[in-house]
Symmetry: D2
Subunit: 363 residues, 4 copies
């Protein structure tokens, strides 16, 4: 398959460039009978929308999503769902000056090497704008998981540059522009961001995502493990450089007696596994963490070359997030939801009603 489809049974295929006429996607394989409307999808889109705070790009994206098919009288019909977002704020002129530039840490060089041509306007296909469609498709997946099995997917910012959160208060997450679950850290983050903006620099971030009420039995070893598919989905998000499940890299220094999650008749006594054993969900919360690199568009000059190989100095003008990680939370949630729904459908299809896990899923 070409690279723009995600999922085996719940398949999301996206298209669209940052400054083309529109972005869109096809959600193929959504079960029939789910009540869904544009406004519900819009709510998720608005969570990732830029311009919501001074800490994110000021670019205005109306991002009004339209449902073009697959929904009849307010319910999914089982046929492919076409979603469309028109690009209202294109401003191509902003980008004409970078037509021949190869910006460091951007996809300019690799796209140009791969395709020989590229839509340089705002990064074209490699723009973070592409992730809007993931969030739209994820909104459908999230609703189905919630309605059908009570599965809930949530995420938060766990670290902003040097500032790590210490408390996980879900109530706080949507009350600040950082998706930060620790109210005490918000002022510190605001101060940090202001200094960063003045400096013209950017910073990385760590996002955590988890799903609760995940039935046991999801995942198809040995390659399509639940954690492996999750790793692909999360690593496919722009700027992500690392993925952890449960204890992640902390496992390196753990002894077996520390890491192993002991089991009592009433359940597991810890969750270093992050809810996955042997690539299959254990029924515990599914927990993942991702590392996002700092934004590559900086006001501080950087050395680079143009497409002819001449040395140039690159300085980014215009609207950019000093920390892409801030807006990544809804995107990471969407990818986890897409992985989960796909595996619920696969489990239901392949392992039917013969195993306890499926019985749970079939509930």
């Amino acid at each position: 398959m070409s690279g723009n489809t995600f999922g085996k049974l719940f398949c999301v295929t996206t298209f669209g460039e940052s400054h083309g006429p529109a972005l869109g996607c096809i959600v193929d394989g959504c079960p029939p009978g789910l009540a869904i409307g544009e406004e519900e999808i819009q709510l998720e889109l608005d969570r990732r929308k830029p311009g919501t705070s001074r800490y994110t790009t000021q670019r205005r994206e109306a991002d009004r999503v339209k449902i073009l098919s697959g929904v009849f009288e307010g319910k999914t019909t089982g046929t492919p769902i076409g979603l469309l977002i028109e690009n209202t704020d294109q401003r191509s002129k902003d980008y004409s000056d970078i037509a021949e530039q190869v910006r460091p840490a951007h996809a300019d060089y690799s796209y140009w090497q791969k395709y020989g041509v590229r839509d340089y306007r705002g990064g074209g296909r490699s723009s973070a704008r592409e992730t809007a469609m993931r969030v739209a498709a994820g909104a459908i997946a999230k609703k189905w998981l919630k309605e059908k099995y009570g599965i809930r997917v949530r995420g938060y910012l766990s670290q902003l540059g040097p500032i790590a959160v210490e408390k996980l208060d879900w109530e706080q997450v949507d009350r600040n522009p950082f998706f930060c679950p620790d109210a005490d850290k918000v002022p510190e983050m605001e101060a940090y961001m202001q200094a960063l903006i003045k400096e013209g620099n950017s910073i990385g971030a760590r996002i955590s995502v988890q799903a609760s009420a995940v039935p046991a039995g999801l995942g198809e070893p040995v390659f399509d493990r639940l954690d492996a598919d999750l790793a692909q989905g999360l690593m496919s998000i722009n700027a992500v450089k690392g993925v952890e499940i449960g204890a992640g890299f902390a496992s390196v220094a753990q002894k077996g007696t520390e890491h192993r999650d002991e089991i009592a008749p009433e359940g597991f006594l810890s969750n270093n596994a992050g809810g996955v054993l042997g690539g299959i969900s254990s029924g515990q919360d599914l927990i993942a963490h991702i590392a996002l690199k700092p934004t590559s568009s900086l006001r501080i000059p950087g050395r680079s070359i143009d497409v002819h190989g001449n040395p140039i100095e690159v300085v980014t003008k215009g609207r950019h997030d000093p920390c892409v990680g801030i807006r990544a939370t809804p995107i990471a949630e969407a990818m986890m939801a897409l992985v989960l729904i796909d595996h619920v459908l696969r489990q239901r299809g392949q392992n039917g009603d013969t195993a306890p896990g499926v019985a749970t899923v079939g509930r």
Copy 2:
């Protein structure tokens, strides 16, 4: 697709339980004309084989691989290559006692929940033994990549529990049982492992893999990015809990000016990206790191339940690696090779000879 096939054009499908009659795989999509023999594949298999040192399980695995198809007069024909390894050392009786146990941190619970039945002998399908076929298939991929494009895939142990390596001397890697590239650390590792064995405990590890001479232009955004497919491949290895590309989680605390790899006419000035920009190879070395959890089979008793939900105490007897990570290096290399060959074929097919990247690939 079901979960036991890896790759889109270079497809590896595996089968086999730890204590069944045999393990095997089908390599479908290997280009014709590659000279390959059983002995070359055997060399890679021997690198991962247990029983090679006192720090790995003493189980004897003859692991003699047979080529059953797809190779004629010493060369691949383009038809599927069938590979088989017979299980010579089964010892099922060793495992009869755990038939009803749910061992902590093992796949017992999740397999049982998913399928309702399981081959409990030595972990059955969830045994690390399954990875032998990945190494066998990877040996074919490695040879093709080397012969056709000079791409070289290599790995090493970068951390054993608390002991991190400080030097990367490729010469050393195959000279010690740890795949450790830093000779000075070997005695420390040996002492650590001996204490661990005496204690009856286990430890985690960090493995690093890289590929050199990777052509620019590999990867199919936005979902089948080179780094995303690599993340899936590496996360699908038993015991892996985390994957990093380039700077990985260090990116979280990096500023844009630190992280971005500046470019001079003679090339990139650093490699925080790990050789991937926008999901496409940049022509720099492809660099990944993985975290492996400590072995779950311990002589130190642990609390758990049996399949009836009764509380039990689990104590592992018999032969087990105190550190699964030690043997993971050849497996990680194999997965990186499988991802690379698949993307070379995809790039060659889809983007043909129209882009500089492909021109390189087509060379």
Copy 3:
């Protein structure tokens, strides 16, 4: 994968109901650098458009296609191409009366059984209207095949009910509303259709498609044979009930000496194989034939049931083709083009430049 994507490397995913807001598709995997514009795609769409003659439904379909992504400065960029056609002529009221009817030989019953709900307006997803997007995607494939390898895909009506064509004059095909290559048969066909319309009945048809200048070596045995993929593609067209390659069903009564295509140094001496040997193209013209059933919407009453199981009498009102086959020629051409481009890309990727066939393809 879900069922609305066709192709492995050149992937076409479609969406859209007959009377929803729009139809669309994503063409993922189109090689970069192809010059393509909306008007070229429109030309193919106009060939299948209804309302072009009194022998096809009088429904007006503006069918203006828009390119939403993947094309920059007139050329494909290698990123997914989004195509959209808005439904301008919906007339939902026409269909309200059939909301609870199960029309014989329509997909009403099976869709209802499968999904439990259905968009009954004009057949919803099962409407022949869906094929418009295949033709749009096929137009891109056709152009690439022609430009890159000189491959030409063409089709014609070979039989209309009892009237079989006797001459194949390509010049004639686009000069009559039937895509009939035999000018002498056109008056007979016109008379036949007029009688049929008066009668309120419909008729089946046979369409033939072929591709010239097909390089040898296309097709991936044993399952993804060129002829097998072609059979799937053609059988997936609405109303198709049979597919033949080359001599097709005539082979049943042929002796080996008749059927085998002998070979001379200057080439094959016949083409009963239809250009495929062992599932791989031989370099001869690729030839296929399809059987289309008569339209199911008739003015002559038929016995059926409603969704409650009560017996009803069904009479179709409104605009319908008395022969769906008439408009199927461009659709069949599109499917053959989609199969060919996919296999050219697969061959180029998988078998690279090591085989004569590929050398041809690589030319």
Copy 4:
């Protein structure tokens, strides 16, 4: 995917050359809990085995199948099932003389063009011997379909060259070497075959396959229709040149009033559709017919070329079926079973328990 895997959820991947060490396949995605043994698979293999009558090749094939994984204590575990058949009767010397010949109507030319190399011994991968693994995998699918849903897949020879059967008596099918359901035609067929053998010629055949008790709701429009996937599966069988569903090519000359299957409260009144409406099963018997070309290996000399392009005369010696169609019945049954089980799993996964069709399937 490469070309040797069939199915999306119930995936069969095969390998093996006619004269290599062994043939094998991996059945990935078989639901757990199915009781299956080697002997049951063997029964199906014996039905297609050559050497069973004077009308088929006298080659001896022991064809003893071994189950290497995926079955524990007599039941499937949900993990991949490895199947192996060792080639006991290789006789490579028989074939050395054709190493450089390009035999008319064989895959010699196309394989050579595609891969540049080929295992010429007995046709290598293009030999009908490959179909043994389809029958083995099909046996598992057949048993599951029967046990789980009562679905029964059966086939018969409907025409041998000029001799068409007139009666369909299922009892007769396994009582003669032709799979002929019409006892009165058997003597005629025997006489015809004897004359053919004396003449050194071969003949085509028509095979019919059907499935009963098929639940409504199977098939994934618009591309992965049940009939489209069936067409691919059947066309992928060696020597097949045509596929029909229900009335097939007869539909061309049918009027709508003849073709449409009217419906009464008690069910459909005819079955021209062959059990598929809009690409989805209707609950009627699923009916398909295939055309097989005459064997290409003849004692009567034919004109051809060698791999150097020189004109040669080809005469086949050794053991060959004068009619490949005779042995195709079990193979066609296997392919229909593989398509059905895959779609049952897809329906169960994707459309769950929300639709009547699925309810049936879920029963």
